[in-house]
């Protein structure tokens, strides 16, 4: 461990010295990976723009004239070393939005705190048992004047400004801000090459090791039985329905695997928020054309 860190320090110092002397533009020190690092860094996949594989999915919603769809590979979970099947078009209003880190932070903090109810409660001087009577008379006893044995000054007395009762930290961010947070998270995953689109979740065996090997190899409603069994015991690979997609999970997990149906569902739901009216009555009640 020490040797590794020392090597890192030494090498970065040397590199900085070299770069300042030679004038070349080297990577900044926080982005450089030392060669003796344990664990393989994922190789950047080639971008699918210049490939001759067919485009297997076009976007359903209309794309604005000045934007082009984002493209990514379509893969299979069938075997360890299968080539990508084709290229998939992704809507730019969901997968290429400007990445606002402040919105992402706000949504992540909201997700953590809006469910929080802190049950911390301590007794105040009124709630602690006893302490109704004045312990000794006001004047003449020689001791400090007190009104009750349970005031905050006393040992065993109540707490003056302690936490009072279950407090709720509930608040709601506007719906459009939360939707924008999801879009930004998806854009970030795509831009950082951590998004994998898959045609279906069929895997050949229910063995958890198959999935782990797949993840290491690839450096990637109702679910098929195999994948449910495979992910049951695994802590690092988790499976959720498309409606459960949220910013906290996307930030916590390194890469995201979506099926084609999930992509279609997400695009439909997220783009609707750009073209909807302000709600006349809550959206949980029926409208004629909810997505």
């Amino acid at each position: 461990m020490f040797r590794a860190t020392l090597a890192i320090c030494g090498r970065t110092v040397v590199k900085r010295f070299i770069s300042s002397v030679s004038g070349e533009s080297a990577l900044p020190s926080n982005l450089r990976l030392p060669s003796n690092l344990i664990g393989v860094a994922p190789q950047k996949r080639a971008s699918p723009s210049g490939s001759d594989l067919p485009v297997l999915r076009r976007c359903e919603a209309d794309i604005p004239a000045h934007l082009a769809p984002a493209q990514t590979w379509l893969e299979t979970l069938g075997s360890h070393d299968s080539e990508p099947l084709g290229v998939v078009d992704l809507h730019p209003d969901v997968f290429s939005v400007p990445v606002r880190l402040d919105i992402l932070h706000a949504v992540e903090v909201w997700q953590r705190n809006f469910k929080r109810i802190s049950h911390a409660k301590v007794k105040s001087r009124a709630e602690v048992s006893g302490g109704g009577r004045k312990p000794w008379k006001q004047k003449g006893s020689g001791r400090a004047r007190h009104g009750s044995i349970r005031s905050p000054l006393w040992r065993g007395g109540g707490v003056a400004h302690g936490p009072r009762g279950p407090t709720s930290y509930y608040y709601m961010l506007p719906m459009k801000v939360r939707v924008q947070g999801l879009k930004i998270a998806l854009t970030a995953k795509l831009a950082q090459d951590y998004l994998h689109i898959v045609d279906s979740l069929e895997i050949p065996t229910p063995d958890p090791h198959y999935l782990l090997d797949l993840v290491k190899h690839r450096q990637s409603d109702e679910f098929p039985q195999n994948i449910l069994k495979a992910t049951e015991e695994l802590k690092t690979v988790n499976i959720i329905p498309a409606i459960g997609l949220n910013v906290h999970s996307m930030l916590k997990h390194e890469s995201l695997v979506l099926t084609l149906e999930a992509v279609k569902f997400l695009e439909k739901k997220l783009i609707w928020h750009d073209v909807r009216y302000t709600p006349l009555y809550p959206f949980k009640l029926p409208y004629s054309d909810l997505p």
């Binding site: 000045h66 606002r100 073209v275 909807r276 009216y277 006349l280 029926p286 004629s288 054309d289 997505p291």
Partner: protein, 189 residues
């Protein structure tokens, strides 16, 4: 409602009639509930499928039918803003649609969700007028330069502007919303 029957047989009859009454009440309630429930369930799933049930002659003498629900369905409002109808040139109200091909400039200004140009005027403290230009994509600094040039030609002095690259907005000191709207419409945004 309690009445104490004198003999045992009367009691049994009483209880039987009460029981049959309660059963009919339950059955009627369940029928009414079922009449309302299936159609609302189909609406909430979003698909406008109506179960065309044959008006069944119930043993009670009323007909169950879901055909008339179309009078309710046509009142339910849409949630999406419709695309405006195609006009050749300006509409009678003065609204001009966005040009089909985006102008070949390094920046792009999208329309709002109601298909209008996103230029808004703002007043603070009753005397501070500013104009906000929103939904800017692309090279915002070139647009800033163009806006300043245009307003210099218009008023003779260059108004201070505030460019926010993160949100893609430009705030201009002074009230120029009509002029900026016409200028952007002439450009084709």
């Amino acid at each position: 409602m309690f009445c104490c029957p004198s003999s045992l047989s009367e009691e049994r009859e009483m209880s039987a009639s009460v029981r049959s009454m309660s059963l009919t009440v339950c059955r009627a309630a369940r029928v009414a509930y079922r009449a309302f429930n299936p159609v609302t369930r189909s609406l909430t799933t979003g698909a406008c499928l109506r179960t065309e049930s044959n008006p069944a002659e119930g043993s009670r003498g009323f007909i169950e039918s879901t055909e008339e629900f179309r009078f309710v369905e046509r009142l339910v409002p849409p949630s999406r803003i419709p695309a405006p109808p195609k006009h050749e040139g300006p509409a009678p109200s003065g609204w001009i649609p966005q040009s089909a091909t985006p102008p070949s400039l390094p920046y792009m200004i999208r329309r709002s969700r109601m298909h209008n140009v996103p230029v808004y005027s703002d007043i603070k403290h009753g005397n501070q007028h500013s104009t906000l230009l929103r939904k800017i994509e692309g090279d915002i600094w070139t647009l800033n330069k163009d806006v300043k040039e245009f307003l210099l030609g218009l008023t003779g002095k260059e108004p201070p502007t505030q460019v926010n690259e993160v949100t893609g907005t430009i705030r201009i000191k002074g009230q120029f919303d009509k002029e900026l709207k016409d200028w952007l419409l002439k450009k084709g945004f």
